[in-house]
Each structure stands twice: as C-alpha cells, then as structure tokens.
C-alpha cells in the first residue's frame, strides 16, 4: 500500500495533495479553455450575436456572484481553521451556499425555459447552457467534496483534514474564477 503522507516534499516544495490538485486544475483549465475557444469561434463567426443583458436576467447572475464569492471566503478561511470543529464551522456554510447557488441557477433556468429560451433557440443560448451547466456541475461536485471533508474531519488526523481543505479551497477559487469569466462573457458583453 502506498503510504498517505502529509509533509511538504523537499524536492517539489509542496505536499502531494497540493501537487495533485494543481494537476487536476490544469486539466480543468484545458476543459473550460476548449469551451471558451468554441465560444470565441461561434461568437466571432456569427453574423449577429445578442447581448447577454438583453436575453438573460442579470439579477440572478449578480446574486450568484455574491453567493460564490461568499462561499470562496468561507472555504479560504477553513484553510487556517483548527480541525475538526473549525473546519466544520466553515465548510457547512460553504456547502449551504453552494446549494443556494444551484437553487438560484435552477430558478434562472426555469424562467428561461418557460420563456422559450432553450439551447435550440440560438447559438448564444446553446453556448450559455453548455458553459453554465458544466459550471453548475462543478459547483455540485464541490458541495459533495465539502460534505466529504466535513464527514471525514472527525475520523482522520488533523493534518489530513487540513490537506484536504487546502485542496478544496484551490478548487473553489478555480470555480469562482471561471464564474467571473462567464459573467463577463455571457451576461455583461
């Protein structure tokens, strides 16, 4: 069995968990990068491209931006919290905020679909649903990860919980950054 280590490696300068999450995030950047590249192609090639402000409801997007930033703040604070109580105290609200994001997103989708704004309506809406849908899946995965860390906080040693929390905070920072980019590209331009 490969031993689970929590020390910072002398050669890489980081812990194995940190190295692993950075490699994972690099692959995620490539995934979203390919989609943003497709967005750039479709938008530039389209004879007409609607403004997100005219088609989408900006209030939902702004509310979700606040929710995600608050979530990121909670997870970031969990990095320095003493486990397990401190970790739980910060990751529970973060998971709840993630759920709130999904609820707001569902309400937004429902309003759009009711108004006949579905992916088949236009290329803009197709890219919008693909990008925001994939991002919402990442938020859902982050909630699961939050709950997993909270559940394991009492069972595993504090060092392991701190390593997991550090990886989780990097993941949520990535999800926040992707959302900000999407806010600018889809809603504000």
């Amino acid at each position: 069995m490969i031993p689970y280590t929590v020390e910072r490696r002398a050669d890489t300068g980081v812990t194995n968990v940190t190295l692993g999450i950075w490699l994972f995030l690099a692959s995620e950047v490539m995934l979203f990068g390919a989609l943003f590249s497709a967005y750039a192609l479709l938008r530039t090639a389209a004879p007409a491209w609607p403004s997100g402000r005219d088609v989408l409801d900006l209030r939902f997007a702004l509310a979700n931006t606040v929710v995600l930033l608050a979530l990121g703040w909670f997870v970031w604070r969990a990095r320095t919290a003493a486990p397990p109580a401190g970790t739980r105290r910060r990751l529970w609200p973060a998971a709840a905020l993630g759920l709130a994001f999904l609820v707001v997103k569902s309400l937004e989708y429902r309003g759009e679909i009711t108004a006949g704004l579905v992916p088949a309506t236009s290329t803009f809406l197709a890219t919008y649903f693909v990008l925001t849908g994939l991002h919402a899946l990442h938020v859902a995965a982050g909630i699961v990860a939050n709950l997993w860390v909270v559940a394991g906080a009492g069972r595993v040693p504090p060092a392991m919980t701190l390593g997991r929390t550090a990886a989780l905070s990097l993941y949520w920072m990535f999800v926040d950054v992707v959302w900000i980019v999407m806010l600018v590209l889809l809603y504000l331009s």
């Binding site: 929590v6 980081v14 940190t18 990068g33 943003f36 530039t44 003493a82 060092a159 390593g163």
Partner: protein, 134 residues
Amino acid sequence: MTRLTNLTSLTRATSPARCASVHPVGERPPARRRRTAVRIAALAVALPAFVPAAAFACPICFQAEENAVTDGVQVAVVVLVAITAAVLAGCATFLVRFLRRSAALDEVPPDTNRAPRTGALDHVAGAAPGPVPR
C-alpha cells in the same frame, strides 16, 4: 597582494585540470548544457519566421476566403493556444523549480537538527505531523 591571491585562486579554480576533475572529459557542465538546450529550443520556435510560406500553410484557413468564419477560427485558435501555452508554462515553471530544488538537495547535506516542515500544518500549532496510515 590580496588581488593577486584572488587571481591565483581564480586561475586555480578555472584551470583545465580542475575542470576536468569536476566534469570529466566529454561531459558538459549542467549550466552549459542548459544554455545549449535553451538555444536549440529558441531556434526551433523562431524557425517558422524564416520560412513564412510554410508557416502560413494552416490547413484550416489557408487560401480560404476572408469571412466571419475564418476570423472566428483564428480567434478560437489564438484563445486555445494562449490557454494551452499558459498551462504548459505553469508546468514548465514547476519542472524547472523541481529540478533546481532537487539539485540544491543533492548539494546540501541533510540538516538533522532542523524540524521538518509539515506543509499543511505550518500554520496550526499543536497538530501532529508525520505519516498517516490510510
């Protein structure tokens, strides 16, 4: 006199005999090897500039009519190349850092008096470091 001593030590340090003892004949010093590798890489990157006709032969839009689609393809290619380059630059930076740290670790003997850094535990007092059974 001091200057003369320094010069003498410099001459001794860079004498062929000493260099040969550090780097055997036929083997280049690591810094020189690195410089050569960087020069070859730079030349490979700059090569398309010397053969523009071949470099412009993009299979997607070569000789294609200039329209919105070709513009879109170009923008998409630039976006994807920029993102890929950023990710690869991050990987390369890490690898360079990794090599430097490895080289430094090879040179410095291990300090047994220093407590090991625990990474995840650096900011938390009282948390026990050490390997954790899975």
